[in-house]
């Protein structure tokens, strides 16, 4: 999918980013970047876009596969490894692997470990993530 300039700008504004490389094209270019630079947590925007794309194509995303229930979903921890910036205007690919899935307390707590990457065909791996999410269910699934 393509990274849109407007999306980086909007995301940066909501987070009150102070560095103009995230919202001012001239500032980004003066700092030596080809276009607006995505902030570190923009990763999740790329993931959301990828999930929308999969939905349009009628395919399942990782959150579908683990039967993500937003009423009970909590973040455990996450870690991002940054190799290179994500720039506006470029095409990126998003991929996720379900690394682990287990439950505790007779199925009332579910844990999932996801590993995801964002890559650009020319520049290679840009960002990698490792995330643990959990469901605190009122009762085990049947």
């Amino acid at each position: 999918m393509q990274i849109e300039r407007g999306r980086i700008r909007f995301f940066s504004q909501v987070l009150k980013e102070s560095d103009p490389i995230h919202f001012d094209l001239d500032a980004a270019r003066t700092a030596g970047h080809p276009d607006l630079v995505a902030p570190p947590s923009f990763f999740m925007v790329v993931e959301a876009l990828a999930n929308e794309e999969l939905k349009r194509l009628g395919r399942h995303s990782a959150v579908d596969i683990v039967k993500c229930d937003f009423r009970y979903l909590l973040h455990g921890d996450e870690r991002y490894f940054y190799r290179a910036p994500i720039y506006a205007g470029e095409e990126v690919e998003f991929a996720t692997k379900v690394v682990d899935f287990y439950d505790k307390k007779g199925g009332a707590m579910e844990f999932v470990t996801l590993e995801s990457t964002i890559t650009n065909s020319r520049r290679g791996l840009l960002v990698r993530s490792q995330r643990n999410l959990l469901h605190r269910l009122p009762q085990p699934r049947t």
Binding site: L15, E17, S18, S41, E52, F70, D77, R79
Partner: protein, 139 residues
């Protein structure tokens, strides 16, 4: 902004803090739109109450995004190699969060000088919401 010289950053040095909020319902709605995280538990009070929650609460990645600024405002996004955090408690609507970072280690990896930072985000009542660390290139 760079009150502590990157190349001279010593273990124990504290970085300038970043404050955010109080987080309004408006901010939660805008973040939902900007991020693509449309989980209704953050934007729809009716949904939150039906799920047994007291109210809507902030998106985890909103806090993570604010926390990352403690690192990027100091070092610039280009130097950030790694950011990790554990979600210690839920950030509620109207919380005001303060993010802090301290240098904990200097080391060399992949041919460059790096520092590790200990990161925390906490709410106005002292409750920690995010606890993590980051690795930044300083060479």
């Amino acid at each position: 902004m760079n009150q502590i010289d990157l190349t001279q950053a010593e273990v124990g040095a504290a970085l300038p803090e970043v404050e955010f909020g109080p987080i309004s319902r408006g901010t939660l709605a805008l973040y939902a739109g900007a991020s693509g995280d449309h989980n209704p538990a953050h934007i729809d009070t009716d949904f939150a109450k039906k799920a047994g929650l007291p109210d809507v609460f902030a998106q985890g990645m909103l806090s993570f995004g604010v926390l990352s600024q403690v690192v990027t405002r100091w070092a610039g996004v280009d130097r950030v190699r790694e950011i990790g955090a554990r979600f210690a408690s839920i950030t509620q609507v109207h919380d005001r969060i303060t993010c802090k970072a301290t240098v904990t280690e200097r080391f060399e990896a992949d041919g460059e000088q790096r520092v590790r930072l200990a990161l925390t985000a906490s709410a106005q009542d002292g409750r920690e919401t995010l606890v993590g660390d980051a690795v930044v290139a300083v060479g």
